[in-house]
């Protein structure tokens, strides 16, 4: 065999990819070996985003800040908290009383959770309204739903930790849902508890899992953001940017706008945390857990109420659990159920009303979730649950098939002109 043939047979290998940095000096030296600096420049300084983004697009950044603050405050709380049924309640109170600014850290952590959900619900509404889940952003939407599931798990686990009455009974009710699994239900529940009732073993593992899932969220958020930087941001027009007339660079334009959004959000959060820190919580959670006394109404945190309502209004336990999990999972089908090629509700008059009705229905379910489970509430709850699923399985494909979209501009800069001329309406409070 000749030498020529050998060279053709084996492909060259480059294990050493050092180099290629646009920077010089120490920055260049680092960037040649670890290209994060050029990645940062490329993805956060020169990155092009649509010009027409409203403040609705700040919630991604807001959520990132919330997550970071939650982890910092959580880490601090973890240094004083004891996951033991005997000491948990008192250790939280010790944080509130004796640890320097412990009250601030705990109230921040508790209220941040609520504000995290407020921001996530607005973030999801933004996606629904402007069709951000559609081609090519389906995978990003799916990753988002995974984050939402993980968030709910973390929030639930975290709520059990202070070991108040609602912690204990909430944990009992939610873990008991697994007993609905056919054949293995009871064994699964015992396995989850690590005992024959919710007790010390359960609290200890809830604490461990609360930490674990919090960091899993960080990991999945990284995927969410990587996907965002591949497909790019959607925008109120739902039209993809074509040339530089349609875009601005991420910095300083988007960063300055996001900063305003973040500060307004932070302002509201701080005001609530400082002046009504327990408003969003339940007073019963200041009563230490007592397995012998059941509270008159077991109510989850406000952000679970709509899903809790769906669970409760369905008479069969297993079906209820399936419906509750399904009510979130069904979001994942939306990109395919709503096959209309027009993204933004600005050009979809009928779908727009459907989305608003969906939001209204969401609040109805939230109300039902907190109301006692009898009489008129169950009837309203069932209608609302039916509408919830009908929105996805009936309205979405039906409207996509029959709706005639309004005339659309060719590009984003034309969209901006139309907006100025008053030809189209967007959600005003978020566009200043």
């Amino acid at each position: 065999m000749s030498a020529d043939n050998l060279e053709q047979k084996y492909k060259p290998v480059h294990t050493n990819k050092t180099g290629g940095s646009p920077f010089t000096g120490i920055t260049g030296w680092i960037d040649n070996r670890l290209p994060v600096i050029r990645m940062f420049k490329h993805e956060y300084l020169d990155f092009q985003v649509p010009k027409s983004l409203s403040y609705f697009w700040s919630f991604g950044g807001i959520l990132t800040i919330c997550l970071i603050l939650l982890i910092i405050t959580g880490l601090s709380l973890g240094m004083h908290y004891k996951p033991d049924t005997k000491y948990a309640f008192d250790s939280v109170e010790k944080i509130m009383r004796d640890v320097n600014f412990g009250w601030l850290i705990r109230y921040a952590h508790v209220n941040l959770t609520s504000f995290f959900f407020i921001a996530v619900y607005l973030h999801i509404f933004r996606s629904l309204y402007y069709g951000s889940y559609k081609e090519p952003r389906q995978l990003m939407w799916l990753i988002g739903i995974v984050i939402f599931f993980l968030m709910m798990a973390t929030a639930f686990l975290g709520y059990t930790l202070p070991w108040g009455q609602m912690s204990f009974w909430g944990a009992t009710v939610i873990t008991n849902l697994f007993s609905a699994i056919p054949f293995f239900g009871e064994s699964v529940v015992t396995w989850l508890w690590g005992d024959y009732s919710v007790g010390d073993a359960a609290l200890n593992r809830f604490y461990v899992l609360h930490w674990l899932i919090a960091f899993l969220i960080v990991g999945v958020v990284v995927f969410h953001v990587i996907a965002l930087h591949i497909v790019g941001s959607n925008n109120p027009s739902g039209i993809e940017p074509k040339d530089t007339r349609d875009t601005v660079s991420f910095s300083p334009f988007t960063t300055s706008k996001d900063l305003v959004g973040m500060l307004v959000f932070l302002l509201i959060f701080v005001a609530v945390m400082m002046y009504a820190p327990n408003y969003l919580g339940h007073p019963d959670n200041y009563i230490p857990a007592n397995p012998l006394v059941t509270p008159p109404h077991i109510v989850p945190e406000w952000y679970f109420l709509p899903f809790y309502a769906i669970l409760r209004v369905i008479p069969d336990k297993l079906m209820g659990v399936i419906a509750m999990v399904g009510s979130i999972a069904v979001l994942g089908l939306l990109p395919w159920l709503d096959f209309s090629r027009v993204r933004s509700c600005v050009f979809r008059p009928i779908w727009k009303q459907c989305v608003f009705l969906f939001v209204l229905n969401f609040f109805v379910l939230m109300y039902i979730g907190a109301a006692p489970a009898d009489g008129i509430y169950v009837v309203i709850g069932r209608i609302a649950t039916a509408f919830y699923f009908a929105f996805f399985f009936i309205l979405a494909p039906l409207v996509a098939a029959t709706e005639k979209p309004l005339p659309m501009p060719e590009s984003i800069h034309e969209f901006e002109n139309w907006k100025k001329q008053g030809k189209i309406k967007t959600i005003n409070i978020f566009s200043k």
Binding site: V260, L263, P283, Y286, P349, Q353, F356, E416, N417, K420
Partner: protein
């Protein structure tokens, strides 16, 4: 025009919904709680020191015979933002109690006078002892009670003031159960704790039922939220700071965006 009507529809639905929910809630609600003017409410709320000190006296002489307050230490009484007793007063208060300590070098438990670092001494050694002494009912620990009831301080004040001689006909009271206008279910196992002159205030304030209820509720609110004053002060500062910062950043944002918005 069409969208306008749809919007109006939407708002109408919301209003009807709010109205209906209001009716539902009021149907469930009990008698409306009494709302005295609390000094600790509002954006600049602070505790009234004299009231907290009197409240402690009411707690010590009336409530403490059945209710524990196990999360609070005697030293807290002297801390800033609380009743602010002087160091000597705190030491004197603590030393009135016999505290079990130990084991000592011989391995035996012993009693000694309380120190400021001790937690408030509980009237009963455990919950069962407490129940057996109170006819089966457990007087709840008062440390965070003011946060553990819907309505908070208003609720506690109302319950203290809500004992009525005349029991409505539809309510049947068992032995050792009392009628209370504001208690959930209108039944309470605690007999009327306060009546005019139950305690004698050392500062000369007239110990009316209302005055004592207000003082002791303030004291309980402080016990539940000892850092309330710092929180409100810090809250005002941080909100003001954020407000100014937000306005400045908004102006910067406008300036930055003016580079391109004029061209559109």
């Amino acid at each position: 025009m069409k969208t306008f009507f749809l919007k109006v529809n939407f708002i109408c639905i919301l209003l009807i919904f709010a109205f209906i929910s209001n009716i539902f809630y009021s149907k469930e609600a009990q008698a409306e709680l009494l709302k005295p003017n609390w000094s600790f409410e509002g954006f600049f709320g602070t505790f009234d020191r004299a009231s907290l000190q009197r409240g402690f006296q009411v707690y010590k002489e009336v409530c403490a015979s059945c209710h524990s307050m196990s999360l609070v230490s005697y030293r807290n009484l002297g801390e800033k933002g609380g009743p602010e007793f002087t160091e000597e007063e705190v030491k004197a208060i603590a030393s009135q109690y016999e505290v079990t300590d130990g084991p000592n070098a011989q391995g035996e438990m012993f009693t000694r006078p309380g120190r400021p670092s001790d937690k408030f001494k509980s009237p009963y050694p455990n919950e069962n002892a407490s129940r057996s002494a109170n006819g089966g009912a457990y007087p709840p620990d008062m440390s965070v009670l003011a946060k553990a009831r819907p309505g908070g301080a208003d609720y506690i004040y109302s319950v203290l003031m809500g004992y009525e001689e005349k029991v409505p006909e539809n309510i049947k009271l068992e032995d050792g159960v009392y009628y209370n206008k504001y208690m959930s279910g209108n039944k309470i196992r605690m007999s009327k704790p306060l009546s005019d002159g139950s305690v004698e205030y050392s500062d000369g304030t007239k110990a009316s039922e209302q005055q004592m209820a207000k003082d002791v509720t303030s004291f309980m609110m402080w016990a539940a939220e000892p850092h309330l004053e710092v929180r409100k002060k810090l809250g005002f500062k941080s909100v003001l700071y954020l407000l100014i910062l937000t306005i400045l950043v908004y102006l910067i944002k406008k300036k930055i965006w003016s580079r391109i918005e004029s061209k559109v």
